[in-house]
C-alpha cells in the first residue's frame, strides 16, 4: 500500500517486443498465391497419383483363402480340427510370371490383435531376455502367466495365440512336385530381431527355461521352434517375431516367407503349383478367415491402388477448385479493386 517509487521512472521499456511491434510476416490469402498454389498442388498430386497408379498396377498379387469354412475348399476337412496335424493341399496355377522377389504372406481376418487387452498381455522384459521375469512374468500376462504356479515363458495372450500353420510350396512340373525354396530369414523388423527380443544369455538355451512351461496352446517349446536352424530359436525366432508385432487392424496379413532362392529369384514362373498346408490354427470358433498371399513389391511397397486413386482425385479437385476460385475472384473481386 505504501508506494515509494516516485523517483524512478515507471516508463515501460521501448522495445519492439514490449510495444508489440516485432517485425512480422503477415501472410494474406491473396488470389495471386492461393490460385496458382492450388493449381500447383493439384498438378503435383495428379502427377504423383498417375505414378502411383501405374506402379501399383504392375504389382501382381495372388490371394487364396484356405479357411475351409465352405465345403468346396480342400481344407474343409481340417476346418473343425478334428484331428491334430491335419494337412491339406491347395492347387493353383499362375498364368504369367510373378516377378521376383515374391513374398509369401499368411492372412487372418476378424482377428483382433489390436484389442487392448490382447496387446498388453505380454512381458517385454521377459522377451528382452530378462530371466528375472522368467520366474515371475508380468501380471498383465494373466491368465497366461502361470500354469499351476509354474511360470509360462513366453507369457501372455499374444505369444500363446501364435499362428502355427505351416506351408510348403511345390511347383508341379510334369506330374512332379518340386519344392519351392522358402526363405524365412529377415522377415521381421531389424530392431525386433536385434534389439527388442533377446534370448537370455545362457547356453545352452534350454537351461534358461528350466522351471518354466511353454504357453498352453503351443506344441513346441520356444527354444525348439525351428528344428532346422538352431540359431532361429527362442525369442528371436523369425515367425515368433512376426507374430509378436501386433497388427493394427482386424484383417491383416503377415509375412511368412520370401521366395528368392535359386530358380525362383526372378519370380514365380507360370505353371501349376500346390500348397501343402499344415492346418493347426483354429479360426472356426470366432468366424475368422485364413488366407495366403503371393505378391511382389515395387519401390513403394505392395499393391496399393487406393493411394494412387486418392492422389488423382485430390489433385483433380484442387485444379477444379482453383478454377472455381478464379471465377469467384474474377466476379467478385475485380470490380471492387477498380
Amino acid at each position: 500500500m505504501v508506494k515509494e517509487e516516485e523517483d524512478s521512472s515507471n516508463r515501460p521499456d521501448n522495445t519492439a517486443f514490449t510495444q508489440q511491434r516485432l517485425p512480422a510476416w503477415q501472410p494474406i490469402l491473396s488470389a495471386g498465391i492461393v490460385i496458382p498454389g492450388f493449381v500447383l498442388i493439384g498438378l503435383a498430386f495428379i502427377g504423383i497419383g498417375v505414378g502411383l497408379f501405374l506402379t501399383s498396377r504392375d504389382i501382381q498379387v495372388l490371394e487364396m483363402d484356405y479357411t475351409g469354412a465352405d465345403g468346396s475348399s480342400p481344407c474343409s476337412v481340417c476346418y473343425n480340427l478334428a484331428d491334430k496335424n491335419c494337412v491339406c493341399t491347395m492347387s493353383f496355377s499362375i498364368d504369367s510370371l510373378i516377378k521376383g522377389p515374391v513374398f509369401f504372406y499368411y492372412g487372418l481376418t476378424n482377428y483382433f490383435q489390436n484389442q487392448r487387452r490382447y496387446g498388453v498381455s505380454r512381458d517385454d522384459k521377459q522377451l528382452y531376455g530378462d530371466t528375472s521375469n522368467f520366474a515371475s512374468p508380468n501380471s498383465e500376462c494373466a491368465p497366461y502367466q502361470y500354469i499351476s504356479n509354474v511360470p509360462i515363458v513366453p507369457c501372455g495372450s499374444v505369444a500363446n495365440s501364435m499362428f502355427n500353420d505351416t506351408f510348403e510350396l511345390f511347383k508341379n512340373v510334369n506330374g512332379q512336385s518340386l519344392p519351392v525354396p522358402l526363405d524365412g530369414k529377415g522377415i521381421a523388423w531389424w530392431t525386433d530381431y536385434n534389439v527388442k527380443f533377446q534370448n537370455p544369455n545362457v547356453t545352452p538355451l534350454i537351461n534358461a527355461f528350466n522351471g518354466t512351461v511353454r504357453p498352453p496352446f503351443w506344441s513346441k517349446n520356444v527354444y525348439e521352434l525351428d528344428t532346422t536352424d538352431a540359431s532361429n530359436n527362442g525369442f528371436i525366432n523369425q515367425d515368433f517375431l512376426v507374430w509378436m508385432r501386433r497388427a493394427a487392424l482386424p484383417d491383416f496379413r503377415k509375412l511368412y516367407r520370401r521366395i528368392t532362392d535359386g530358380d525362383y529369384s526372378a519370380g514365380l514362373p507360370a505353371g501349376n503349383y500346390s500348397l501343402k498346408i499344415h492346418y493347426n490354427y483354429p479360426v472356426n470358433g470366432f468366424g475368422g478367415k485364413k488366407k495366403v498371399v503371393f505378391s511382389n513389391v515395387s519401390w513403394m511397397g505392395g499393391k496399393n491402388e487406393f493411394l494412387g486413386i486418392a492422389y488423382l482425385v485430390i489433385g483433380s479437385l484442387c485444379v477444379v477448385m482453383s478454377v472455381v476460385m478464379l471465377i469467384v475472384y474474377a466476379k467478385f473481386k475485380f470490380p471492387e479493386d477498380n
Binding site: R11, V34, Q115, K196, R253, V324
Partner: protein, 1176 residues
Amino acid sequence: MLSRPSLLLCEKKKEERKVKANDREYNEKFQYASNCIMTSKYNMLTFLPVNLFEQFQEVANTYFLFLLILQLIPQISSLSWFTTIVPLALVLSITAVKDATDDYFRHRSDNQVNNHQSQVLIRGSLQKERWMNVRVGDIIKLENNQSVVADLLLLSSSEPHGLCYIETAELDGETNVKVRQSVSVPAELGDPNNLATFNGEVVCEPPNNKLDRFCGTLYWRDKKYPLTNQNMLLRGCVLRNTEACYGLVIFAGPDTKLMQNSGRTKFKRTSIDRLMNTLVLWIFGFLVCMGVILAVGNAVWEKEVGSLFQSYLPWDPPVDNFLFSAFLSFWSYVIILNTVVPISLYVSVEVIRLGHSYFINWDRQMFCSQCNTAAEARTTTLNEELGQVEYVFSDKTGTLTQNIMSFNKCSINGQAYGKGTSREKNTLDFTPFNPLANPDFCFYDEKLLESVKVGDWHSHEYFRLLSLCHTVMSEEKSEGELVYKAQSPDEGALVKAARNFGFVFRSRTPGTITTTELGRTVTYSLLAILDFNNIRKRMSVIVRNPAGRIRLYCKGADTVLLERLHPCNQELMTITSDHLNEYAADGLRTLALAYRDVSEEEWEVWSESHRSADKAVDCREDRLAAAYDKIEQDMMLLGATAIEDKLQEGVSETIALLSLANIKVWVLTGDKQETAVNIGYSCKMLTDDMMEVFTISGRTVQSVRQELGSASFPGNGFREGQEGDGVAGDDQLQGSPCPLPPTYLMDNISGEFGLIINGHSLAHALEADMEVEFVSTACACKAVICCRVTPLQKAQVVELIKKHKKAVTLAIGDGANDVSMIKSAHIGVGISGQEGIQAVLASDYSFAQFRFLQRLLLVHGRWSYLRMCRFLCYFFYKNFAFTMVHFWFGFFCGFSAQTVYDQFFITLYNIVYTSLPVLAMGIFDQDVPDHRSLECPKLYEPGQLNLLFNKKEFFICIAQGIYTSVVLFFMPYAVLSNATQSTGVPLADYQTFAATTATALVIVVSVQIALDTGFWTVINHVFVWGSLGLYFTIMLALHSQTLFRIFPKQFHFVGCAQSTLLQPVVWLTIALATAICIVPVLAFRFLKLDLKPQLSDTVRTHLRKPAESRLGARGGSRSGYAFAHQEGFGELITSGKNMRLSSLGLASFASRHSSSWIETLRRKNTPPKEPCSSFL
C-alpha cells in the same frame, strides 16, 4: 451527540473490547491481534498443502485427479497413469509458481509495512519501535505527514483544542482534510510525562468494518467519557497540518478498520469464460455420449465376437460377462477420450491472458509522463472482455475532467477580464510584481494586473474578498513557500488567484486571518464565518480590518446572491449577469461576489441574535440560517468569478472514437445537472447534431414516467433511411413501451438523441416497474448523462444494463464514490496517479488518463478478444482432431479402448507438440496494426457482437476437428492395410499405424496453426518449426534403443520411428491426409475472403492504402467548451438561470460537511469566553 445512543447499543452487545493504556500485561490477557499485517496466504511450510488444497478445489483439477485414480485401476486403465499425471503436475506446478510469486510479493510488501518505524511511549520515554511490534494499549506519537500506525484513540494534539487534521484518501478516497478531536479530558495530557502515567481504560465495540462509526467509553479517574468516531485516527490516514499528536492503540493489525475493509473483491469472469465453461460441460456430455456409444459397441462386440474370440483372448478374471466388460470399457474410453477437454486449456488461457496483461503494463502509449504512471492490468483474467465492451460508464470529476479548477475569467465592477485558455497568448508573469506568486497559475489578460497595479478599488476589494472569504487552510513551510489545503478545488483556485494578484492569504487562526496585500502584511480579525450549505448556496465572512471597520464578504451562487443586493446595484447587476451568462455558456463554473459594510452597532445586535440562535435547542439550523439571512442583505456587488473545470487531455476525441466503435458512453456523476451537461457538451457527447436532448428531472413517479414516455416517443423528428450504425441491441428494444418505431427505426434514431436524468428521477426510473422503460429509452439515446447520482445509484445503473442488455459494461472512475460502480461492472477501470487509490484498488485496470481507454479497448481489448477466440477455436479443433481418432479406431479394435497413438505421444501432444505455436498465436497475433484499429473503430464491432467465438464457431471448430480425425484415421487405414515396405514387410502393424497417424496429426495441426497465424513474428516461427522439429526429435528419442534397454516395458516402440519414417508410402499417406484436411479449409477461407470479407480482412489487405479517416475531430482539439452549441440546447435546460448556478464545493459535499464540523466542534468544546467562539 451521536455517541450516547450508540453507546447504549454497544453496551447491549456481549462482546466488547477492553483496552487499558500503558498496561501491556493487562491487555495481553485478551490476546488481541498485534499490529503485524499478514496479507500473504502461505509460508514455507504451509505452501504445498494449502496451495494444493486450493488448486484441487477447481473442478477441472479434481476431474483430472479422478481420471488419474481411474487409470490406476488395471482393468480400466487404457492409458498409463503418467499420461495424466505429467500434464496435471505441469499445470499444478505452473499455477503453484504463479501463486508463490504473488505471495512472495505480498510477503515483501507486508514486511515493508510491518517494519516501518513508529514512536511508542514505553515507560515514560519515546522509543522507536517497528509497526509490527506495536501492541494494543500502547501510546503512539505521530508527527506531521506520518501515516497512522493502527486505529488510535486521539489523546492529545499539538494543535489548539486537541484538534488534529487527517487525510483519509487511502480509506475513502477523499483528499480533503478532515478534523479529529481528542477526548475532552485527556486533552490536558499535553506532554509525554503525563501520558506515561495515563492509565485510562477504554471499553468499546469489537473490530468491525464501519469506517464512519465507533462507539466506546473511556473510564479514567472514576469518570466516563463517551468516545465516537470523531476521536479516532484510523490506520491508513495521514496526519496533516498537525505538528504531533498522541494516540492510544485500540485496534491493531488485522483488527483495524482498514484491514477489516480490505475484503476480497468479487471474482469476475469474462463471457468467454462462461461460454468456455458451458462448452466444457457440453464436451463432457459429448464425452459421456461417446463413452456410452463405445460401451454399447463393446457390449455388442464382446457378445458377438469377443466371447467367441475367448480362446485367444480370455476375459480378465473379474469380467464374467459382456455387460461388465462394457461397463469397464466405458470408463476406459472416458480416460482416453478425456483429451477433448485437455488439462492444458485452462492453464493456456491463463498464460495468454497474463501475456496480454503484460502488454498492457508495458504499453508506452498508455504511460502518463506527468504522473509517471504506467497502465496496469490489475486483474489478469478479463482481457478479452475488453474487446467486447458495449457500454462505458464514466465518472465525471477526475475522470473526464482533471479536477483542476483554474481561475479563468472574471468580471469586476462590470468589467470583464480574461481571455480563456488560448494558446497564442502568453500567460501573465506575476513574479516581478509579486514574489509570493505561484508560477503554476495561468491567466491571460494583462488588463486585470494593470488595474490591480494602478490601485483600482474594486479590483482590490475583489481579490481581498477572495483572500478572506474561504475555508482554506494554509501551510507555510518556509518563507513564501505557501501550500494551500483547500477543501474543494474551486475554492483553492480562487484563493490562488487572489494570491497571484497580490492578495496573499498567509495564515489563519480561529480568530484571525493574516494576508499580505500588495506586499503589506495585514491581519484581519475574523468575527464570523457564515458557512456554506446547499440551501444557502453562499458563504460569508465577517471581518474587522486593522482600521477597525467591520465588513461582510460574501460569495455564492448568482441566483441567490443577486437577490440580496442593494437596489443601487441594478445597473452593475445587469452587466454582471450578462457576463455570468457568458461564462456559463462557456461551461465555466461561476460565483458572484459581494460585500457589505457593517456598523459596530449593527454587528453587536446581530452577533447577539446569532448567539442566541446558536444556543437554541430546537430548530437551531433554521434559526441560524435566519440569522445569517438577516445580515446578508443589501450587499454591494463586486463581480463574478469563472472557473474552468479542465477536461482531461483527449477526452472528446476518445468519446468520439468510442461512439464510432459503437460503444455507448454514459456519464454518471454526482455533480449537478448543469455542470454535467456542460461537460457533456464540451466532451462532445452531446452535440448540436442531436435531434433532441431529453431531460428527466421529475421528482415524482408520475412525472418521471411522463417524461420517460415523451422521451421514448421520438415524435416526428427522425429521418428515415439514415445510416444505421447500431446493430447491437436490436431485439432488446422489443420491450419498449413505445409502440410506434419498429426496431430498425429505433436503431436509426440512436444516433440522434441524448438523455439527461437527475438522481432523484433516477431513483424512480430504477424501480422495478419502470426500469424496462428506462433502459429502452436510455439505450435508444446516443448519450446518457446521469447527474446527482449516489455511488449506490451508479452501481444500480450498471447492474440494470447488465441485467437487461446482456452487454459487457465497463465502469471508469477515480474516486471512492466510483468503487461500487467499478465493482459491479464487468470491467472496472480506475484512474491512477491522482488522489485516492480506492478506485484503483477496486479496479481491474488502471491508468492515468481517460484517453487511454481508447487504446485499452480498441487496441488491447480487440487484440485480446481476437487472440483468445482464435486460440480457443484452434484449441478445441486440435483436441478433437487428436481425440476422435480413438473413437473411429474403437470400431476396429473391438471397442477395447485401445489408443491409436503411443502413450508418450498422448502425454506430450498437448503440452509439448502443439502447445507453443498456439500460445504464440494467442499472445502475439495481430490482424491489423494498432493504429488501424484506432483509425477504423468499426473493427471493434465483431467483439461486441461476439462473432469470433460463439456456439456456432465452436461447432464449426468441432466439426473441422472431427473431419480431420476421420481423415487422419481412415487415410492410414485405407492406405496401410494392404501396404508393405519395399522389403515386403507389411506396414499394417499397430506401431507403424500409430506413428503414421501421430505424425500426420502433428503435421496437419501444425499446418493449420500456420494458416491461422496471421502475424508471424520470430517467436511464431521458432515455435511452429521448433514444435515440428521437437516432435521428430522426441519421437526418435522415445523410439531409440537406449531408452528401450533401460525401460523395455515403457519404450516398446523401439525402432518404430526409423522404420516408419523411412517409408515413402507413409509420407505419401501423410501428404495425402494433410492435403485432404487443409485444402478445403484453404478454399473455404479464400472464398470467404472474396465473397464475404470481414472489415479486418479489408483493412489488412489494403494496408498500404490510406484508410479513410472516419474521425473528423482528430487532429487539433477544438477549444474545449462546446457551448457554441448552445442555440439548440438552451431551451432544453429548464431555465436559463439554472445554468449559472454556482457549483462551489458541491463536488465534495462531504468536505463541506466536515468543514462545518470544525465550527461545530469549536462551539461545543470551547468555553464561551474564547474569542473565536464569541460570535458563534
